[in-house]
Amino acid sequence: MKNLIHTILIPVIAGALVCSCGNKGQNTEHEVQEVDSILRQDTIKEQIHQFVHIFPSQIKVARLFKNAGLPYQAAELIPVEASGQLVEKEDKALAMGLYGVDMVYSAMNNQTQTAMGCLKISKDLAKDLGLEGIYESNNYIKKFESNLNNQDSLELIIRDLFAETDAFLKDNNKLDLTLLTFAGGWTESVYLASTYALSTKNKGIIQLIGDQLVSLDPLIDLLKKTNGTAINTQLITELNDVRTAIIAGIVKEETEQEPMVIQMDDEKIKNLIAKLDVIRNRISKSKS
């Protein structure tokens, strides 16, 4: 029994005393209330971080665009070498989203070596952000290499990688990284679609670009609620500019039953691409 007290209870009690840091003069009830109050505050904080918005999977968004006719556009992807120049954590998180989408598009279009390159960049960025465990515990690089000739398997691997990353970030209260990564992926998806829409005026693609507002609005709202760094504040402004550029194409507002109708001429698409470029240039311009 003595051993039990020494090995379990005393450290627990000592730990509790250290944690509570209470004033010795206060009575027991007051001390308990104080600690409970702190714990409740932590819980509330936790709730705010956890009960957020479920954003669409980038792989699904990519599939929707591909089904609408979006082809592979190698020249439009973010240059591989750009990732090496990034310094800020926020830029690395944004880049992880951008390269993630490039990886998806490449894999979906059987450009497996490019996809593999993007995966390796993503892994390096994840390492810099303290997320390397996701890649290592699941052997994604090895799995990817073993399935280079199987497009369906590659998509499953990427889907799982995205889901694991999302769960890890949320489990570890890294809402800021979740949002920045999603912002990067969102920007790249809409950029690739917009450059194609400029040359083809594909109505399905343009409508899908408008549909992406459904995740842009909560993204901007949540970025505003996080403790913003200067980079985040700038990004919010840039995303709002993108939002304005898309909204300019709405010719019929949505109703309860009917979707909105969006039409974009050359000028509007070029303006949208210019706004998206501002965000992409944070990453792609770093190569020069």
Partner: protein
């Protein structure tokens, strides 16, 4: 003696209430547990958190038209059933388990791309501090 009593009480509180993960499974665990349940749908996203008894909260989701979705609702640690509603931006209730609280799965193919709110209302408890865990596991069908 008084100090020891206080310390024991504090240590109990610290153990029983501070590690939120002790009340709520990690998202990684939930994702693993639902991996087979969601089949043949694909994992789309997940959110979870601790919520007090007799409280209401919501998780919002972005959904696209012409995509089939399954919403799996998870709850743990409450004295009774958790009532779930799926609501549109215009407050139209699309689905609820009010009449069948055991039903913890909804299926949808949205007519238009939209933002839905999944509202959870937890049952009241005699213990004001009672808390449990709620989660939403969203899956969609291969396209």
């Amino acid at each position: 003696m008084r100090l020891l009593q206080t310390a024991l009480l504090l240590s109990f509180l610290a153990i029983s209430t501070s590690p939120i993960s002790a009340q709520c499974k990690s998202l990684k665990t939930l994702k693993t547990e639902y991996a087979d349940i969601i089949k043949p749908y694909d994992f789309e996203g997940i959110s979870a958190g601790v919520l007090g008894a007799g409280k209401t909260t919501n998780i919002s989701v972005s959904v696209f038209s012409k995509v089939k979705y399954r919403f799996h609702f998870y709850s743990e640690g409450y004295d009774g059933p958790v009532i779930v509603k799926i609501i549109t931006l215009n407050h139209q209730v699309l689905w609820t388990n009010e009449k069948d609280p055991g039903n913890m799965m909804a299926e949808f193919t949205p007519k238009k791309t939209d933002k839905y709110f999944v509202e959870y209302t937890t049952p009241s408890s005699a213990n004001d501090d009672s808390r449990g865990c709620i989660a939403l596991i969203l899956s969609s069908r291969p396209y």
